[in-house]
């Protein structure tokens, strides 16, 4: 009887279902929900072969307790906009606020940090330790918000730095302590509507009135208006004004002066006009403004007189007679901006990578086998190839940034030129890398990368300007090539060995690249440096030859240089990447043998080989044969798979607290669940 019923049921069921399909209804109850994808924290599945805390010491390099203190200060205050997402709290500015609101929040955060003593010693203490501490704290601020960092950077590094470096004791005594305590709020008016990188061409004019002992500053035409001046639109009370100095009818070139632009109540001073540069693609927490000067009178003492002065009766006095030299001496010490930009670009890259890699260790897509579990994004070789070389570059740049900071804080008059060249090369290289890295990280996070709260996408807008301010990247790289060329010409002319800018390798015989590249050769630091030496050496030779050739054809030296822009560009990159590789190797050498050192070696090889793969110069000029290039490409994929197990540990080593990453870096299912939204 029962059998009959069952059979009857089956027949009926088969009638109801599409012919030939398996009996779905009896296989699974139709309305039971699929088991939801569950979030599995990568921290539980990815064992660490080294201790990230130890690795962090090489990455952050200095003032780690001070960094943690500041992270702690930020997370203890509501001002830094804590947001609960799932079971975690994240600290990030509310970028959905209006420009005006964001600017006010930036200022409030500065008051809070000021009260807690964060800026103590930033200008009043001048020793390497204090300077490194300032850099460290500044980097942490930037991890929270680029606007906040830039607002501080303008006040301390540009306004404060100008007084420190261009001013003399009377300026230091009068302004530094008040700046450190925000009694005055400074800005830095160099750029004009008509002139940016070419500071020597600015059109603001200052004359001296010996009857009153005052300077008179004027904006003679619209293109002379000061533009993009951070802090000028709302808050700054004082500014450094860059201006042509016209004494007794003779132009003495660009000088810097202090002018007050707002009174203590925040009202704009007489004869000053200020406008707002308006909404930007990022950094809307910074109030960039335009300034016009209409016969603004300032006391004679407000000229920053470290290299030149004007006597009360109106005589121009300077130890340096040549205008160009004077200008160079003037700007030389102001490299700290490029150093902090380089460092902050790397920290932004770290944020992007930490988020994208953590996400790629929890998000799955597509199964390889029918009904099999979907595959983790980072288990796709293609995904590894997208992110892991960027991770290696970011490591390389961290070490190089530390090296740059170290030589900066221990600077001597002799090392100024090196610092200038190195900081120019690194600023351009790091900020370009950051933008590419953020774009890749954004794409690697898919649609989630587009959400502002997930940071990776939004940071692109925030950091884009880094390739332009404090020296346009392309201009900076040209200066690097120019400096290398000058060194080259000088060495050839005097027939003396190279001894600057790391060009010493040019004194040795030309390295030879083996025709057969095995895996172990490719991973050997000797081979890697040889390849980088070869490229730099050959490009420098070519560049010099091409410039001479243009000159031989009757072009001026300047124009010959402009025409050789392709080689100049290649050479700048070759220099920068060679410096990076060398500092990587130096850092590696300080690490005791063990798993941490082994992972660093993998990263270093990845860095070297990805440079070989990406720069067409290696094939174009035949430093690598086609077979060699193929071997390099193959080795990169092997390195990817060897780095894959360390990916989580490597981003954990960045030392960025969870609260400064974003929801997709953690339990994104929780963060987006109905109960959480």
């Amino acid at each position: 009887m029962e059998q009959q019923i069952t059979r009857r049921n089956q027949v009926l069921t088969n009638h109801l279902l599409v012919h030939g399909e398996p009996t779905l209804l009896s296989a699974a109850p139709p309305l039971s929900s699929n088991s939801c994808l569950s979030y599995s924290p990568p921290d539980l599945n990815e064992p660490f072969s080294f201790n990230p805390t130890d690795m962090r010491v090489y990455l952050d390099s200095h003032n780690i307790p001070d960094r943690d203190w500041l992270f702690g200060l930020i997370t203890q205050s509501q001002l830094f906009n804590p947001k609960q997402r799932g079971h975690k709290v994240f600290f990030s500015p509310d970028y959905n606020q209006s420009m005006e609101q964001q600017r006010e929040m930036t200022m409030k955060r500065i008051w809070y940090l000021l009260e807690k003593g964060v800026f103590q010693g930033w200008l009043t203490e001048r020793n390497p330790d204090a300077e490194l501490r300032k850099f460290a704290l500044f980097e942490v601020v930037g991890i929270f918000d680029h606007s906040l960092a830039i607002k501080l950077g303008v006040h301390f590094f540009l306004w404060g730095g100008a007084i420190q470096f261009f001013g003399t004791k009377r300026h230091h005594d009068k302004w530094l302590r008040d700046t450190e305590n925000y009694v005055v709020k400074g800005c830095f008016a160099m750029t004009e509507l008509g002139h940016g990188s070419n500071v020597r061409g600015i059109e603001t004019v200052t004359t001296y009135d010996s009857n009153t002992g005052e300077f008179v500053i004027n904006t003679p035409c619209e293109s002379a208006q000061k533009y993009w001046i951070g802090g000028a639109a709302n808050h700054a009370t004082h500014t450094i004004v860059f201006s042509q100095l016209n004494i007794n009818g003779e132009n003495q070139g660009v000088h810097a002066l202090i002018a007050q632009i707002r009174d203590a109540d925040g009202n704009v001073c007489p004869n000053i006009r200020i406008a707002d540069c308006g909404h930007k693609i990022g950094l809307n927490g910074v109030d960039n403004g335009q300034i016009w000067f209409d016969n603004v009178r300032i006391p004679r003492e407000n000229l920053l007189n470290s290299v030149a002065d004007v006597s009360p009766d109106g005589q121009y006095l300077s130890a340096i007679k040549d205008r160009d030299q004077r200008f160079a001496a003037f700007l030389a010490p102001l490299t700290s901006g490029r150093i902090t930009i380089s460092a902050s670009a790397i920290y932004a890259s770290k944020i992007g990578l930490a988020i994208a890699i953590r996400y790629s260790l929890t998000r799955r897509a597509f199964s390889v086998t029918r009904n099999g579990r979907e595959v983790l994004l980072l288990d796709y070789p293609s995904h590894q190839r997208r992110l892991l070389p960027l991770l290696a570059k970011t490591y390389a740049m961290s070490f190089a940034g530390n090296y740059l900071k170290q030589i900066y804080v221990k600077r001597t008059p002799e090392s100024n030129k090196l610092i200038h060249v190195l900081s120019s090369a690194f600023k351009a290289t790091f900020t370009w890398h950051n933008m590419r890295n953020l774009q890749e990280c954004r794409e690697a996070c898919g649609g989630q990368g587009v959400k502002t709260e997930n940071l990776v996408g939004h940071l692109k807008g925030e950091y884009d300007v880094q390739s332009t301010f404090e020296g346009d990247n392309n201009v900076l790289m040209q200066q690097v090539s120019k400096a290398l060329l000058a060194e080259y010409i000088a060495a050839k002319k005097s027939n003396k060995p190279f001894k600057r800018f790391g060009l010493e390798h040019m004194n040795n015989p030309c390295p030879v690249i083996p025709s057969q590249l095995t895996s172990s050769t490719l991973r050997c630091s000797k081979f890697q440096t040889d390849a980088f030496f070869l490229r730099e050496r050959d490009l420098l030779n070519r560049f010099s030859a091409e410039v001479s050739q243009f000159q031989a054809q009757g072009e001026s030296k300047e124009y010959a240089f402009i025409l050789s822009y392709q080689l100049a560009e290649d050479l700048g990159r070759a220099y920068s990447e060679r410096e990076l590789l060398q500092t990587f190797i130096q850092t590696e050498a300080t690490v005791p043998a063990g798993s941490l050192k082994d992972v660093l070696a993998l990263l270093r090889s990845m860095y070297a080989l990805i440079c070989l793969e990406e720069d067409a110069a290696f094939l174009r000029y035949g430093y690598l044969s086609m077979d060699n290039a193929a071997a390099v490409r193959k080795e990169v994929t092997k390195l990817c798979s060897e780095l894959r197990p360390h990916a989580l540990a490597l981003v954990t080593s960045f030392g960025i607290p969870d609260a400064f990453l974003s929801p997709i870096a953690f339990n994104w299912i929780d963060a987006n669940a109905w109960a959480s939204v």
Partner: protein
Amino acid sequence: MAPLNSTKLDDPQVLVEEKLSARILTLNRPKQLNALSFQMISQLLDLFIAYEEDSNVKLVILKGKGRAFCAGGDVSAVVRDIGAGNWRLGANFFWKEFILNYIMATYPKPQVSILNGIVMGGGAGVSIHGRFRVATENSVFAMPETALGLFPDVGASYYLSRLPGFFGEYVGLTGTRLDGAEMLACGLATHFVPSERLSLLEEALCKVDSSDPAIISAVIDEYSQQPYMKEQSAYYRLNVIDRCFSRRTVEEIISSLEKEILNKEDDWISATLQSLKGASPTSLKISLRSIRQGRLQGVGQCLVREYRMVCHVMQGKLSRDFFEGCRAILLDKDKNPKWEPSKLEIVSDRMVDSYFSKVDDEGWEDLKFPARSNLHVYAIAKL
């Protein structure tokens, strides 16, 4: 089950009562203010692990016999062990204690700790990490380690750093005492129940038969009361605490406190300064660093770091302040420890760094936690 008033020598140091699905564990060394012995810690650890697996158990209540909940780890026993030759014996004590703290912090079932008396050091470690902490008018909380040449351990760098503002730095560095009302206000306690209602509360809890924190919280709420906070409470001084204890270094904390009383007298600040100046300079510095790091770490990471630190302290190579502190406070009781280094300025960053590094001793290992099933990644204690 032994009667509670038994005084036999082999009295169990932790009493266990089974009430339906609740388990009441009573720390039973009233003469030593329930200071945690190695045996107690081992027993608690075994019980907690067993209860986690046991589906018949839904709730664990922890309390102390006598006028203390628990006055801390049995430090004098540890010092005795180390004096006998091997500091690693002392380290074993902390290993086990920290594992217990971790198990509690990541415990899937609610733990209700009845803090009707002294809660210090290790006593805080076995209660604050649990879900519910019931304070009473008899509660006295303190982390007094810096006066002993130690530092706030047992996961304190986790829970102190999560108190409002910089209250945790204040509590951890000065070793100040908090009463039940203050504990509730700052979040160290979740409830305040007058002691006369405790037996009723216990009875009610034993009948709950649920692991749902919302239900248990509601039951405790029924017996709770809003306590009166004394006027001179430090909690009313949060402004000053935030202003001064947020400073970067111990020296800056002290000088900012001194600046506060430059023009006006203030007994509370003077007392605060006095306790800071009496504490071991090394302890102050490593404690501050530990709390600052703790703010950014999970409870597991905090305990791993504290284990490194405590091993350095026990090893006594970097400083012998801990032994000096125990001598002056616990053994000779002259209350006049001679700290070495004696001044904050002499304790360099490098010396502080060493406490956070691995211990160079054969066979020494970082703290390792037992595998936890279904561990939530955020393994957060409930503060």
